[in-house]
Symmetry: C2
Subunit: 345 residues, 2 copies
DNA sequence: TTGAAAGCGCTAACAT
DNA sequence: ATGTTAGCGCTTTCAA
């Protein structure tokens, strides 16, 4: 059995209450007592039990973090932001990866409850029937502070941190239009998804704002995987239905699209233009001159954690925090053949 | 205050011992009792406290996982492997990211001890004085099963899962030599690092095996960052000291090197050849015909977790498990100008 | 099959 | 400033 507070008390010749005080940095301890206790702790290599402490305090200093896809660089960046701020406030994060499975999400929530976590930062899975009253209940029943990240839960009023999805599509779509594009393909993901909706609105409004109509055929539903946009882009190529520009609505959708273009040797922007939403590793590594509307994932993690901390501390916080992604114009948006010398790949 | 086992017992009209038995799936409970208890649990939405349970059992079903760099795709893949097997054995993982900081590593270990974790999977930070007796003690003092991942701790005999680093460099170096290369630059990382050492040996032995001598100038020490290999490659280019081939010894070192080559428009393999060790996202996405010796990170995570589970269950396990990375020859290894049509970028 | 009761290691209220 | 003591919510003997 491990060393307990009792052993320390005995060794130091004080009561266990005094040891507890030293442990919790109470000021009401004499220097002599403190020294003796600290000495004993060191000697015995004593480490307090989180369980005993948690039980008697009936709370932890753990926060739950649930992400849908840890291998997505966006989320691993978010996580670094979360731990950065978590460390600062002495909150440990218990991570769960759901792989977009609602089942895994449920299990994660269950475990977090068992651990009586102080709060929860979550990007909920995307899925059909996730907007039921029942789904929202799941979270409300937790009865702990919650901060949503990047994905909203419809009809709920949880605190959340989001990017301005409307602007994120409005800006690049406008840019493309102003470069002469009319035929702009957008892989929409599931268009019923709330995030998709805002982005779609941005796309459509950009056309209206320029007194133009978009071609509904260019809005292509898909799931959110790289696989999906890869196959759809391939199909467009094989059917000779290439537009003059693509918009990648997420990093995964962008990658799939780029992969297909690259595979067929279709160069950007000589033959087709491309702009994407969300940072892309390939851009970071190769400076491929891809025009991107970039999200600062780490900042999102930081912000979410600060908000959660405030809520835990009982502060009132705003319901929605909107971060503005910035557009970096690098060349890939140009109209085909407008500059045959600029070749991204 | 939350619902406790007592509330359930009262509601169900049984003793708390019976409730506990139901919770723990003990067979010695009558069907009637079980039904009543389960009913009460559902009604009250009762969730047992991990703290109370942990305290009375004096152990958890948590394993600690410490990685040095969660944004490195290699480690996020490892993590998915770990959770996959962890789920299977009902082990929850408490993750920590050290950012290669020994200080953060220490803090993580401390917290894991507070939580009385059942075992630990760790990739220790790289660092100068990490081979001291004192460092090893740190881990031995934990007194729990430990599995090392990808990085050894010298002079220790912890169980670990590694890739065959020797072969990982021997094979591609030989390949390059057989393609006519003599002037092969290798960024070695810290050559005192045990992992680097094995890889270096592979490089050197490949030359001996072909009755050739390598040029010591081509072994370039650096730290393990992308930044580092980027700058060094840049320097070689600017100094007109380009070799005929580069070997990327890690994914980060590869990326830095590729970035510099791309930036200067130096094409592979027309002007210089390249082979790397470890998978590269750019290859996955763009099929860039990069010849790589690829590690299966997910498999490594799985294997490590299985080993840890065995150790927790008291089984004897082998000390070192060596996974063999596979070499995929895709074209980037060819001797410059041997095929001017093959242009990777 | 069930229940009573001790105890896991700590905190916090109270007393001194 | 320090000690005593009563829990915190559960598991686990032991007895019935």
């Amino acid at each position: 059995m491990a060393i307990t507070i009792n052993d320390i008390a005995k060794k130091a010749g004080v009561s266990l209450a005094t040891v507890s005080r030293v442990l919790n940095k109470s000021p009401h301890v004499s220097d002599t007592a403190r020294r003796k206790v600290e000495q004993a702790i060191r000697e015995f290599n004593y480490i307090p039990s989180a369980y005993a402490r948690g039980l008697s305090r009936n709370q932890s200093n753990i926060i739950g973090v649930i992400v849908p896809e840890i291998t997505n660089p966006f989320f691993s960046e978010v996580i670094t932001g979360i731990t950065e701020i978590g460390d600062k406030h002495n909150l440990n994060a218990l991570f769960f990866n759901t792989d977009e499975s609602i089942d895994k999400e449920r299990r994660a929530l269950r475990i977090l409850q068992e651990y009586r976590v102080r709060g929860l930062i979550i990007t909920p899975v995307t899925g059909e029937n996730r907007y039921d009253r029942e789904y929202i209940q799941l979270f409300e029943n937790l009865n702990i502070p919650i901060v949503l990240v990047d994905r909203d839960i419809r009809n709920s009023d949880f605190t959340g941190v989001y990017f301005d999805d409307y602007a994120a599509l409005f800006k690049p779509t406008s840019l493309l239009i102003e470069n002469g594009h009319k035929d702009i393909v957008l892989f929409t993901g599931n268009p019923d998804h709330i995030v998709s909706k805002r982005r779609l609105e941005g796309y459509c409004d950009a056309f209206s704002a320029h007194q133009m109509a978009y071609n509904p055929k260019n809005l292509i539903p898909c799931d959110f995987s790289m696989e999906s946009s890869y196959n759809l882009t391939r199909k467009l190529i094989l059917d000779h239905n290439l537009p003059t520009a693509f918009i990648g609505m997420t990093n995964m959708l962008s990658l799939g699209c780029l992969k297909a273009l690259y595979e067929f040797g279709i160069s950007i922007p000589d033959e087709v233009a491309f702009v994407g939403y969300d940072r892309l590793d390939v851009q970071d590594v190769f400076n491929m001159h891809l025009t991107l509307v970039e999200k600062d994932a780490k900042e999102m993690g930081r912000k979410a954690t600060e908000l959660l901390y405030d809520k835990i501390m009982g502060k009132k916080t705003s319901t929605r925090t909107i971060l503005t992604p910035q557009m970096f114009i690098r060349g890939s948006e140009r109209f085909p053949s407008s500059d045959p010398n600029l070749r991204i790949f």
